[in-house]
């Protein structure tokens, strides 16, 4: 009986009486890529696929479509999936099943995205490194860690570098926690797009073009992004020139942006530390482009800038009229930049006591920057505010214990 027939027989028996969860170990070396993909296909719910130490070279993308599987390595610098010579597929690893745990391994130099999980509810990424080792380049893949169309997402203790779009990108999803990650040398460090109930806390975003982005875009199956908390992050030195391919929305991000909120309903920015983001520590704007989608609201609504620590910043902005602006504001722009566009008086930008900023005093989404009338931000500070608690279900964090 050859191996596949044996496997087939095992599968048949498994269908009759489920076997106990197993651990399949994949060591680097001859045929490792095929052994790994075979294990990913033949895994049963509850199984663990363990990568040994070393480097596995892949010519094709990997994929996992079995619920409840854990893929784990020996550490983000020890178990490496190397896609430098990838010949096919749009990403390094694609996950399309629920309750999957990915931990303690690295994906290097994928041709497209790093790890994509689509329609994969309850997914955990922990201790993952995705890196384009040649540094920031437009030819790098778009996203490092890329969960999309999913409910229940935890991305933690991971590291992404070199993404030509976003290092960690969560799109069209709900109930999300992105915590304790390090993102650097990406166009966007972390991007939460068309998603709800996201907690982004204790991350380090440095040396990106923009640190933390919260976007809501038109024309997508899932819209209405909001209820996002950015809390306790270090957002510093985001000064890498934008290297995104021109057609992408993040190509419009100005070098030196700490936090960028575009459209969205409900974003709380508090207890973060900002330093040396030369355009703006925090930028809150309406969607810029024309659109034709009656379901879409282009305004940034209910955005609250609470207490944050602001260091040097706004001193070398990538903005038209930079010299005049710097002169007007005494050599550095205040930490918060608002376009001034509000849907109504009740939902415009709000700030805590002592938060300084400036506004473009625009009034309509899509209005030309030429019509801007920059001036200091004159808002009545909030004494207190309420914001829903958000984030991934507790069981995702518990899975890592």
């Amino acid at each position: 009986m050859n191996r596949l027939a044996l496997v087939a027989a095992l599968l048949a028996s498994a269908a009759a009486a489920p076997l106990a969860a197993e651990t399949h170990r994949i060591e680097a070396g001859e045929g490792a890529a095929q052994r790994l993909q075979e294990a990913l296909i033949l895994a049963q719910p509850g199984d663990v696929i363990e990568l040994g130490e070393g480097r596995i070279t892949l010519t094709d993308g990997l994929s996992l479509d079995v619920d409840g599987v854990t893929l784990r390595g020996q550490g983000m610098d020890k178990s490496i999936l190397d896609f430098t010579s990838q010949e096919g597929s749009g990403e390094g690893l694609l996950v399309t099943s629920d309750e999957v745990t990915l931990r303690d391994f690295a994906v290097e130099n994928p041709k497209g995205d790093g790890i994509k999980s689509k329609g994969a509810d309850g997914i955990v990424y922990s201790g993952i490194r995705v890196e384009w080792t040649g540094g920031p380049k437009a030819t790098n893949g778009a996203y490092g860690i890329y969960p999309v169309e999913s409910t229940g997402v935890l991305v933690t203790n991971s590291k992404v570098s070199g993404a030509s779009d976003a290092g960690i990108y969560v799109g069209q999803s709900r109930d999300i926690t992105v915590s304790e990650n390090i993102v650097s040398f990406n166009v966007a460090g972390i991007e939460i797009e068309n998603s709800r109930n996201a907690l982004v806390f204790s991350n380090i975003a440095s040396r990106n073009t923009g640190g933390l982005l919260v976007f809501d875009l038109p024309g997508l199956p899932v819209m209405g992004g909001g209820n996002v908390i950015l809390r306790g992050n270090l957002v510093a030195d985001n000064d890498t020139p934008n290297f995104a391919p021109p057609g992408n929305i993040v190509a419009s991000v100005r070098r030196g942006t700490g936090v960028l909120v575009m459209a969205n309903d409900g974003v709380l920015i508090e207890d973060n530390a900002f330093d040396n983001n030369p355009t703006a520590h925090i930028m809150v704007i309406a969607y810029l482009q024309p659109f034709d989608d009656p379901r879409y609201n282009p305004h940034a609504r209910n955005v609250i800038v609470g207490d944050n620590a602001f260091g040097r910043g706004g001193d070398d902005p990538q903005l038209d009229g930079k010299e005049a602006l710097l002169e007007a504001f005494g050599g550095a722009l205040p930490p918060v930049l608002w376009d001034g566009i509000k849907q109504d008086d009740d939902t415009g930008l709000r700030i805590a006591e002592g938060v300084e900023g400036w506004t473009l005093n625009l009034s309509k989404p899509g209005q030309s920057m030429a019509e801007a009338r920059p001036g200091p931000l004159m808002l009545t500070p909030l004494e207190s505010w309420e914001f829903p608690e958000v984030g991934a279900p507790a069981e995702l964090e518990a899975r890592l214990k």
């Binding site: 087939a8 269908a15 993909q37 010519t59 479509d65 597929s89 497209g112 169309e149 990108y169 024309g219």
Partner: protein, 338 residues
């Protein structure tokens, strides 16, 4: 007696070619247990779909068919078959996908080379089991005597009919599902009434293998009949439907892009005109819109069709070279847009 004559005629091209090469073994019944059981049979011959696998001579109740506009796969010749167990038939569902009874199977063999030089590379099998469809790839051996299950896919160096040397990828089992997926379930893609000939559907009806002739049959153009005088739009839209829409539709693998390339999609923004990319990354090149009307060379869709580089190329799977004719037709369609 008249029933089935048409089907015989349909099969005759294949049979004739095979008969010319010598005797064809007796048709044995298909192994229904292999089709409907829980296992993944190790060999293609375990199913008994073919009287003569090497020559692709179908067995009993295995019906060859063709599509008006086929999926392009590096120029591979494709031999398509449907297996229906005894006493079962297909059910028409308007212009859409024919409904298959449990126990049915769909087969597609990929071959390169002509005449005696033809080599079978792989046969992809879709099995309709009680709990849904299962997709399995089988790889032909060098002797062309057997195809064995290739769960993890594989790569083969070959030269396409266009003369390009490529590393041809046999998909792994999961990659089969990447295309054959709707709302995370495996589904057939090809045999939609709109993309099947009225003659074939009529023959199946007469043979009792189809419940009725569906309205909207054969509305998609016959790709092979394209000439410079053909209207570009129906050919381009048919091409995009067949080559792209299995992912680019609601519930498909690329649903999050919002780009919907199905034949029936009538909203120009949804099928790409003036639509900005979402997650295209470097696949967007230097361009801002999926389709910029009148400007094929500034349209992301054409840019990606026209690339064979992973990370840029579309489709992401099943393509290692560029379909020059497909690009030409879509280019003409975009160029002619006002």
């Amino acid at each position: 007696m008249k029933r089935g004559l048409g089907l015989l005629a349909l099969a005759s091209a294949t049979l004739g070619a095979a008969l010319a090469h010598g005797a064809v073994p007796e048709a044995q019944p298909v192994n229904d247990a292999a089709v409907t059981g829980a296992a993944f049979p190790a060999k293609l011959s375990d199913f008994g779909f073919f009287r003569d696998g090497a020559r692709q001579v179908p067995g009993a109740r295995v019906y060859p068919y063709a599509l008006n506009t086929p999926l392009w796969s590096d120029g591979a010749e494709k031999l398509r078959f449907i297996y229906l167990p005894e006493g079962m038939q297909l059910t028409a569902d308007g212009e859409g996908l024919l409904k298959f009874p449990v126990g049915a199977a769909i087969l597609k063999t990929f071959a390169f080379g002509e005449g005696d030089a033809r080599r079978l590379i792989e046969t992809r099998v879709l099995l309709h089991r009680a709990d849904g469809w299962v997709a399995l790839p089988y790889r032909w051996n060098a002797e062309q005597t057997e195809a064995t299950l290739a769960l993890t896919g594989g790569r083969i160096d070959l030269v396409t009919p266009a003369g390009e040397a490529i590393s041809y990828a046999i998909p792994n089992k999961n990659q089969c599902k990447t295309c054959h997926s709707s709302s995370n379930k495996v589904v057939p893609i090809g045999p939609k009434a709109r993309n099947l000939s009225v003659r074939w559907l009529g023959d199946m009806l007469k043979a009792g293998k189809l419940d009725r002739l569906p309205p909207g049959a054969a509305t998609m153009p016959v790709w092979a009949g394209y000439t410079a005088k053909s209207p570009a739009e129906p050919f381009a839209r048919a091409y995009l439907d067949v080559n792209c829409a299995h992912c680019h539709q609601p519930g498909g693998g690329a649903s999050n892009s919002g780009l919907d390339l199905r034949w029936e999609q009538s909203d120009p923004h949804a099928f790409g005109i003036g639509k900005r990319p979402v997650a295209a990354g470097r696949g967007a090149g230097e361009y801002e819109f999926s389709i910029l009307a009148g400007h094929p060379d500034q349209s992301i869709l054409l840019y990606r069709m026209n690339s064979a580089e992973p990370g840029i190329a579309m489709p992401e799977l099943g393509k290692a070279s560029v379909d020059r004719q497909g690009v030409a037709v879509v280019r003409r369609w975009i160029a002619e847009m006002k």
